[in-house]
Symmetry: C2
DNA sequence: TTGACATGGTTCCAAAATAGAACTTATAGT
DNA sequence: ACTATAAGTTCTATTTTGGAACCATGTCAA
């Protein structure tokens, strides 16, 4: 399997690997969610090389997670903002952050937290079934081949 | 930042990138969740080179997501199974799969689905706050620097 | 007892991705 | 004219991944 063909895989996990399965993309999205928009800010904040950053931003644009937009004329300068698809990635980030904090422990505390926008209280994420409200875990869910469903 | 130092980052997203931020690891986890355990099965199913597969399995073992276990003597042969930490990654996979299916569309249907183990009905995942039950979205959640929380 | 098969790896070389640093372009301000 | 800003691009060195062959340890059948 070739790396660039991942967009074309029928398995959504494979396509997801096409998004986050490289260095930096996940952290670029994290920074974007924290409000960062400009090339130089991403670069300085992450310590990524400008070369790779430019490539990743192009990729994220091509995949539809971010869009490049002029924020001034003369000289025209562009920044990068999350699209709807990019914003909808937020729950995945939340779930992943929660998992990492629990399962890849570290001496120092996390440099950020997630709080409810309205109440300001810290959040405790749980993945649930929208229909039944039940929590979704490894045990409560089965992965079945698509052709066996019906 | 060096790739191997990611385990040592205080940011959980950075540590998460140390897990899934490479080629193949995400798909190895997908296959493990679908029940695959043996080296050759992973290899054939994924089309990954044996070289890289061996490396990834070692990494997943070192990170505590999988463990290597003998399944027969004479000759002793080992397979790879998810640990508790590995199984707890399932909701992240679910959320990511759901996101990819919605936001990276594809002509063909996904090769698998997730169903509730008890009822057998298809699942519709939503990330919620365990305390309030409210759905967690980009808009309902804020990311705040840790030092500003209290 | 020898030769094919099974299965979890390792080794070696080529190709591709990433790191690191310098350079480019367009314009404003002094 | 000179300096600063900010989004990129270009070039070379290093690291990661791909591809194929090989190795280790045993079983089983002839």
């Amino acid at each position: 399997m070739k790396w660039n063909d991942l967009n074309d895989e029928s398995c959504p996990m494979a396509r997801a690997m096409g998004v986050v399965g490289d260095r930096w993309t996940l952290l670029i999205l994290r920074d974007a969610m924290s409000g960062i928009r400009r090339f130089d800010q991403f670069q300085e904040n992450l310590g990524i090389t400008r070369h790779v950053l430019a490539e990743r931003l192009k990729k994220l644009e091509a995949l539809g997670l971010m869009r490049r937009e002029p924020y001034q004329d003369r000289p025209v300068r562009y920044d990068y903002r999350l699209t709807r698809a990019g914003k909808e990635f937020a729950p995945v980030m939340l779930a992943m952050t929660d998992w990492a904090a629990r399962n890849l422990p570290h001496d120092d505390p996390a440099p950020f937290r997630f709080v409810a926008r309205d109440t300001g209280t810290e959040i405790e994420p749980a993945l649930t079934d929208r229909l039944t409200g039940q929590e979704l875990t490894y045990r409560s869910v089965r992965m079945v081949p698509a052709n066996k469903v019906r």
